[in-house]
Every structure is written in C-alpha cells, then in structure tokens.
C-alpha cells in the first residue's frame, strides 16, 4: 500500500494506492493555521481502510515552507554577503539588512581579495550584541572556491554560542550569486520551523505505529527522505503543482506533448510535458518574488478556477464556496460551463437559478451569457498556455546547434486535473483543437502523483585541470584532482557518477541510482598563447523525475 497526501492551499487530498488502483481517497478543507492537523486527519481517514503494517511508503507534499516564506513567518535571519567586485551593493535586495564583507574570488576560484579580519571581528560583535542566531553567508563564486564562506562560518561557530550558520556553497553550486544567496537565506529562515514540523510528523507516525518509509515531495517532481529534508526545507516549495504534473504523467505514461491543466477552486495551474518529460523552470523557483536555485517545474498559475464567482461584472478572482450546482450560494465558472455544455454536473437547476439573476441584470439570454463566460474563460486559459509555449521556445541558447534546431511546441493533448476539470477542459481542448484526457482519478491526481513518484537527485561536477581543483554539488565538496594532466571527460563523468552513487546511498535511493543519465557534458580547452594549459569540465548527472518501480500505470 502506498499513501500520497498533498496539503494544498484550499484542500488536502490523500490517496491510498495499491496495485494500480486507488483503494480510497480523501479530500478535506485545509486548516490554514495547522497543516499538521490537516495532514494527520487525512492520513487517519485513509488508514481506516488499512493496517499500519501494510503501508509501505508515504509521500507528503505540503505548503508549509511556501506559506512561511510568503507570510514572512520564517525565523529572523541575518544575511552576510561577500559580493566582491561587480554590481553595486544596493542591487542585492534579498532582504533589508545585509551585512557586507570584503573578500573575493574569481570564476576560476582564485582568491583576488582576502577577507578583512577586522571586519569579521565587527561582524562577530554585532552577532553577539544583536542576539542573531541564524546566519546565512553567501560569497560570489563560492561555488568555485568556498574558502571565504568556510572561514566566516568557522569564526562564527568558534566565537558565538548557539548560532546556526548556512553557507551558500553547501546549498547550491550553480552560477548565479543572488539566487544562491536568496536560496541560502530562505533555507536558514525555514530550517527550524521545518524541523519542528518533521519532528511532529515523526512523532505522530510513531504513535500510529507506522514504520513505512516517509518521503517529502520536492518542487522538481521527485522525493527526498523526510530525514534528509531537514537540511533542505526550500526544496519542498511548490510541491503541489509538481504533484499535479506528475499525477498527469502517472495517468498517461506516454511520450506525447501535453498541457497539464490543474483546475482548482480559485486558481488554475498550467504545466507542460514535452515528449513525456515535465518542463523545468529555467530560472528556478520564484520565492517571495526572488529567483532561487530551487529546481522547479515551470508552472503558470492563473487566478481563475472552477469556483471563481460570477457577478454582473464578470468572472471574479476569488471563491466564496462550491458551485451552485454542488450546493453553493453564488454562481461560479463551473455553473456557467454546466449550463452551456449540458454537463449534468450536480443539480443543474441550481446552476440555472443562480445564473438567472445575472442574466436578467445584464438583459441577456441565459444561453448567451453562459456561452460568453465559457468563451472568455477558455480564451484566457489558452492565451496563458500559448504564453508558456512561447517562453519555452524563446529560451536563450548558447550553442550553434541549439539555434539551428529551433524548438517548437505543438501540443497533442490537454490533461485535466482537479475536481473542476470535467467542466472546463473539454471546451478548452476544443478551442485548442487538441484531444483532452480526463480520468476518474483526475480529482485526486495530485495525491496519486505524490504516492508513486520516485526520488530525484542531481549531481554537478566542475573540474579545472590547470588549478587541479574540483567541486561537487550537492554538498559543496572540493578537492584536488589526482592526475590532472591525463584527466579527460570520461574521468569527470566517472567522478560525477561516483558522487551520485555515494549521495544516493546516503539518501537510501540505491534502487534508483542505476537509472541516472548525464544531462550536461561541457569541456573547454584552456589555451594561453598557442598552447593548451588545461581543461575545464562541467558534468551533470541526474536521476530525473519518474515513478517508483512497482508503479506500472493505473488499471482503469
């Protein structure tokens, strides 16, 4: 038995899944102030159908970290930056109070300016006097050489009691210092609330006698063990849309180009599956309007859902309750679709009654009014979808072959997810002139997706045979190359693979590491004068998003 639970903004969905079928599913309104309660309530209802001992794996997706950051309830954290030379300091607007220190390394990891010890002393005095106990430190090019970040971390740990320090080179090795700094800052802010949550969940599972493996869903559509997530809370943001996308993929399991449309109560999330693979946001997840290095699916969220209320002024971007046909008080987008397309959802007469008042006010025939609303809504969704294609097609390219082989996205299909999908998706597909796919499991496809996705892991190696140094992500491991003169691409690939296997073992995902693939293989000759003085390699290998071994698709 597998369990997937997605704690969303409005609802918490859960499924108990076994052998290609959903044994039971639960949908509950989310208690905003107590996500843990919502989660456990759903879990308990699912467990009614089964014994704790039969549960093999539980995957949780939660908005906890997203909410903490969106509402500014993360822990107070001081951000220390070593930006060296380049952009002016006032271009770093991650937070208001930033402590700037001297010290710089360049793109090859060479130290070009030493940190100033007196400045560090002042920083330590400030930490002690201000009582800050969470510090995030980020230095430009620390992904190539983290000596300054480590120095500052060590000085703080040595001299300030009870202070926790996060450094950016351990969070991400990707280029882009402001994103790395923001990711480190958000990680530091949420690490202790997230750990409290993990503690509570562990205790609750313990109380229930559940010994199943517990995983947390990440924004990249893969999972990470609950334990391992303790140091990486930011990875869990935006896991809800990832759950839906993976749910869409789980229900179809083919290599078509699909648009996954998750119609919620008040919002609709769009994501793209290109030739069977979900599309990533090329610039990383956006948290609190800041770009980060959190690997995330490209999701476009539109303030328009099945329960969006209709007034005389048109479709409103908020929800009051369910659609009139399902017992709600106000007419909604679902009601308009229900009437116009004869969908026979719930009590159709209630849809009609709710709409009559608006039709009368607008002096319109009911049919006309509903047809207009349906046309407006589908047009808005289609134009948002087209905008997504266009963005993907217009991604920058840095190689000749990428430009020559211009990419073009032609959708084959719309996959409808969410309870309101049956109302809206057919009309949207008709406008787009593609087929649509809606499954019995569509309303809980998010939780289903969560229950069957496998862990993901991405490893990147940067090696410089002239300086004889390498760095490995994740973890910010650095070291000396043993035989730099004879070091070639295959050696770099081998090192990256070994790191993937090691980290994979630490994460308990040995079952999946064999399924890894290289996604980045860069090598550059370094020529000085007319001679080659070394080579630079950047190699990336990953276990991409996918499904656990026992999942072979849904039966019905």
């Amino acid at each position: 038995m597998l369990i997937g639970i997605d704690v969303g903004g409005t609802f918490t969905d859960g499924v108990l899944f076994n052998d290609g079928e959903i044994v039971t599913s639960v949908k509950k309104p989310t208690e905003e102030g107590n996500l843990k309660n919502s989660l456990l309530q759903v879990l308990d209802e699912l467990m009614v159908k089964d014994d704790a001992a039969n549960i093999k794996r539980i995957v949780l997706s939660t908005t906890l970290v997203t909410n903490l950051l969106a509402t500014g309830r993360g822990e107070k954290t001081a951000l220390v930056l070593l930006p060296g030379y380049g952009l002016p300091h006032d271009s770093y607007d991650i937070t208001e109070d930033i402590y700037f220190l001297k010290g710089a390394v360049d793109f090859r990891g060479r130290e070009i300016e030493r940190p100033d010890n007196k400045e560090i002393d002042l920083l330590l005095d400030w930490i002690k006097s201000s009582g800050s106990n969470r510090i995030a430190v980020a230095a430009k090019f620390s992904n190539r050489n983290n000596v300054h970040e480590k120095l500052i971390k060590n000085r703080i740990l040595e001299e300030c009691d009870g202070v926790h320090v996060s450094i950016s080179s351990e969070i991400s090795a990707k280029l882009n210092f402001p994103r790395r700094a923001a990711t480190t800052y958000y990680t530091a802010m949420t690490i202790s609330p997230w750990n409290r949550f993990v503690d509570e969940i562990e205790a609750a599972l313990n109380d229930r006698g559940i010994e199943a493996e517990v995983q947390v869903l990440k924004a990249d559509g893969g999972t990470i063990p609950l334990q391992a997530s303790r140091s990486k809370p930011c990875e869990t943001v935006f896991s809800g849309p990832a759950a839906s996308t993976m749910g869409g993929l789980a229900l179809t399991l083919d290599d078509l180009n699909s648009v996954v449309v998750d119609v919620g109560g008040t919002t609709t999330d769009l994501s793209l599956i290109i030739a069977g693979e979900p599309l990533y946001a090329s610039r990383g997840a956006v948290i609190d309007k800041k770009l980060t290095h959190v690997n995330s699916f490209a999701v476009s969220s539109i303030p328009l859902g099945g329960d969006s209320v209709i007034t005389t002024k048109g479709v409103q971007p908020y929800r009051i309750g369910p659609a009139a046909c399902f017992g709600g008080e106000k007419p909604t987008v679902t009601d308009a679709f229900n009437i116009h397309l004869n969908l026979n959802l719930g009590d159709v007469s209630k849809s009609e009654i709710s709409m009559e008042e608006i039709a009368a006010h607008k002096k319109m025939d009911m049919g006309q009014l509903c047809s207009q609303i349906v046309a407006d809504v589908t047009k808005r969704l289609f134009s948002a979808i087209k905008e997504m294609f266009l963005q993907w097609e217009n991604e920058p390219a840095y190689k000749v072959w990428e430009v020559i082989n211009q990419r073009k996205f032609t959708p084959d299909r719309v996959i409808g997810i969410g309870a309101a999908a049956p109302a809206m998706i057919p009309a949207l597909a008709e406008l787009m002139q593609v087929e649509y796919f809606i499954h019995t499991y569509s309303p809980v496809a998010n939780a289903l997706g969560a229950s069957v996705v496998r862990p993901t892991l991405t490893v990147v190696l940067h090696a410089d045979t002239q300086s004889k140094k390498y760095t490995l992500d994740p973890g910010g491991k650095t070291g000396e190359l043993e035989k730099p003169k004879s070091y070639q691409l295959n050696h770099a690939k081998d090192m990256a693979l070994q790191h993937l296997l090691t980290v994979g073992q630490e994460l308990g995902m040995e079952d999946y590491t064999a399924d890894c693939e290289f996604f980045l293989e860069e090598q550059f000759n370094m020529i000085r004068g007319w001679d080659r003085v070394g080579k630079l390699f950047e190699v990336g290998i990953q276990v991409a998003p996918g499904f656990i071994k026992e999942f072979k698709g849904v039966k019905i």
Binding site: G86, N394, V400
Partner: protein, 447 residues
C-alpha cells in the same frame, strides 16, 4: 524605464581552429561572470534568444564568392542573425538599447568576400545597418568602432556612403593588424568626411581615449544627427589583451558606453579571455543599463601602472583638430569632387586575407553622380585555397541611389552577363533584390 536588451551568444561549439584566439573558450569566463552576477535576472535587463540571418540579409551587403553558402558556417548565420534580433528589439522599442555579445565577429569583412580575414567572414554591423534601412527605413547611421584593430571591413563597405558615419579609433596601423586606418582615409569622393580614423599610439590609456571621445566623437555625432548609433564593440584596447598593446580598462569601457550611449552595441574582437572580457562585458552591460559601475574592476587593475606615454596627449590633440576639420569640411570637398568633370572614379586595391591566405586584386569604378552617392562596380580576382581562381564583376546599387544610377547599374549587370567573368553580381538595394549569375552556364540566382 525600458530595460536594456542583451543577447549572449558565445557559440560554445564553434572555433576557427582549436588553439585560435577565436575559439570555444573565448566567452566562457564572460558567461561565468555575467551568470554569477545574476545580471540577466535584473529588471533593467531583458535577455534575448539568438536568431538566424537569411542568405538575403548577407547578400544585401556582401558579394560572396562564389555564393553565400561557400563563405559562411551556421555560426555566422547565428551571429549576424543575433545582431538583427537585437536591432529589431531596439526598433520595436521593447528595450531602450541592446548589446549583442556574439561571435564570430565581423568588422574586418569587406564587400567582396573570398574568405576569412582578421577572424571575420561576414560583417555583422554592416548586415544590421542595411537590414535596418530596408525594414525600418532608417537613413543616417553612425558606427563607432571601438575595437583596437582598425575596422577596415566596415570602413570599406561604407566608404562611399555619405549617410553612414564610420568612426574608428584604434592602435596605429604601423604597429598592428590590419595596417590601415590613417587619418587620410576619410571616405570616397562623394562620401568624404564620413569616414573618420583616429590612429592611437600603443599604451594609450583611458585618458587619451576619453579625450578623443569627448572632443571628437561626441561633437561629430551631435552634428551628424544619426537615426541610430552603433558601437562596434571590440574589447582589445584592454591593457591585458595578448594581441594588442593599448592600456584601456574595464572602467574606461564602461564610461565610454555611458558617454557614447549607443542604441546597439555588437561585440567584435577582444582576446584577453580571462583578465579582460568578463569585466569589460559586465561594464558595458551596466553602463548601457544605467547601473552604477563604480564597484567594477579587474582583479589586477592598478591605475598607477597605466600612464599615457610622453607626448601622446599632444599628438591626440592634433589628430582631434585635424579630424574635426575633415568632418566639417566634408560638404565642400564633396561638391568639388562632384564638379571634377569625371564620370567615373577608378581605384585599385590589393586585399590580403590573413586567416585564409588569399590575395585579392580589385578594380573599383564609382560613378561620380551629380545627384547621389553613385553606384559602384567592383572587378575582383582571387585564387581560393582550393586552387580555384575567380574573376568576378560586381555591381553595387545603394539603397538611396538616384533614378539614373539605378538604370545604369541594372544595365551594367546585363552587359556583364555576356562577358568572360566567372560570376557576375547585382546588389540592387533599391529593389532589395540580389542577383548572381554563373556566366559559363547562364544560371542566375535571385535572393
């Protein structure tokens, strides 16, 4: 405020040869620097995707021998095409200005293209200028070539065009490739004074270059009133460049672009791949986007080591005086040339293609038209590396040519069709039509 457009196309899979300065590694550290700075994420910046130039875009400027396909690789189409993407973004006012950080470069490529010279096959800026004229109806364009090498290709292409102001400052041709760019090269008889060369002595610093900019380039631009200003943005005036000997800094380049305020900048040379390019490119981007660049410097920057050579400033004052006069006397000189009584002005050129080792002999005939800049006939002979010798006739009709030049040029092309030349070309920019004919077979191609 509108953002600044950036198109970064490092062509990480293209090189002239593995150890050539124009190799994959050239913009690698620039990539590292601008990506690590996160500059593409700033609201002041909008990043663009590269595009492809069409064969017609290239034929609008060049007589490629025997045809366009023979003179380019896909990388050239992307590089030139990317300059056009940036030009479109500026013209559609999506951005306030734009910087195409692209390779391969182009400013040594001349009208007739037999091969690669000075790392260039086709001229990105010239292709962009003629595209802007065709597509957006621009007329007056200024190109300021800030590469350390004389932009001899761009100069040659616009030498007879009175509506393109070409200004190049560079290391003195007696000390550096391509060995041209002296003050006497001031434009053809009907376009005199719109080619302005400023040869500078080796070791010239920020001080000297900024004097030229403030006291010569900017006043001339003010008087010329171009529709658009293009910076042919080489980065090899830098003190660390391995192929040249100047002493310009990243701060100097940033200030240059702040003062010049080009609408479009297009990367040309610059081969100090680690010590200069990452910082100069950052500086240009920041200056064009209006971002404070005072915190930018090279790791080894030491202004006390960069001093103007003795007597250099005095020499610069003189050049500035001379060239201001050249520019301001231009109409007078052109009138005199027009009234010379000659119908055509002939000249002979010898052009050496250093990269491909080709020697080209050219005879140029310019019609001394009483009304416009005149049309041009070029007879060119060169042996290509494959052993084949080409003897070709090219007729070039500028976009603003008068009726009589149009008729004469088109007639000339017809006359040449029955001749002994291997290839005959007509570049009819008025009709935006580019013809070439293989005389042996009579096969004509129209782009």
């Amino acid at each position: 405020m509108k953002p600044t457009g950036i198109l970064f196309f490092p062509a990480f899979d293209w090189a002239i040869s593995p150890t050539h300065p124009e190799r994959e590694e050239r913009l690698l550290y620039t990539r590292d620097q601008i990506f690590e700075e996160g500059i593409m994420d700033l609201p002041q910046i909008k990043e663009y995707k590269p595009g492809l130039a069409s064969l017609k875009d290239i034929a609008r400027v060049h007589f490629c021998v025997p045809d366009v396909e023979a003179q380019i690789t896909e990388a050239h189409l992307v590089s030139a095409g990317s300059a056009l993407v940036m030009a479109d973004a500026v013209m559609k006012a999506e951005v306030k200005n734009g910087f195409a950080i692209i390779r391969p470069p182009g400013h040594h490529a001349m009208t007739v293209a037999h091969g690669n010279r000075g790392f260039c096959n086709i001229n990105n800026e010239a292709i962009m200028v003629e595209y802007l004229r065709q597509k957006y109806g621009l007329k007056r364009i200024a190109i300021v070539d800030t590469d350390v090498h004389h932009g001899d290709g761009t100069q040659e292409i616009f030498y007879h065009d009175p509506d393109v102001l070409f200004i190049s400052f560079h290391q003195d041709g007696r000390t550096l490739y391509p060995g041209s760019g002296f003050t006497e090269e001031a434009g053809g008889p009907l376009a005199y004074g719109t080619t302005i060369n400023i040869p500078l002595l080796p070791r010239t610093t920020d001080t000297g270059i900024h004097y030229v900019l403030d006291h010569l380039v900017m006043p001339i631009l003010d008087e010329f009133k171009p529709d658009i200003i293009v910076n042919s943005a080489g980065q090899d005036n830098h003190y660390s460049d391995p192929l040249a000997n100047m002493a310009f800094s990243a701060q100097g380049y940033a200030r240059l672009n702040e003062t010049l305020a080009p609408d479009i900048a297009v990367l040309e040379g610059g081969y100090s791949v680690e010590s200069a390019l990452p910082y100069i490119n950052m500086g240009i981007i920041m200056a064009m986007a209006g971002i404070d660049y005072s915190n930018l410097k090279e790791p080894d920057y030491n202004p006390s080591r960069l001093k103007e050579p003795g007597g250099n400033m005095e020499r610069i004052y003189k050049i500035v005086d001379t060239q201001l006069k050249t520019f301001r006397n231009r109409e007078e000189v052109i009138e005199k040339n027009r009234r010379s009584g000659e119908l055509f002005k002939s000249s002979r050129e010898h052009i050496f293609y250093d990269t491909d080792y080709i020697n080209e002999d050219q005879r140029n005939e310019l019609r001394l038209c009483p009304e416009c800049g005149g049309f041009r006939v070029i007879i060119s002979t060169a042996q290509h590396p494959n052993g084949k010798r080409y003897h070709i006739a090219c007729v070039q009709l500028p976009i603003f040519a008068c009726k009589s030049c149009q008729e004469q040029a088109r007639d000339a092309y017809k006359t040449f069709n029955n001749s002994t030349y291997d290839m005959v070309y007509l570049q009819d920019r008025v009709k935006d039509q580019y013809k070439s004919i293989i005389t042996r077979t009579g096969e004509e191609r129209v782009l």
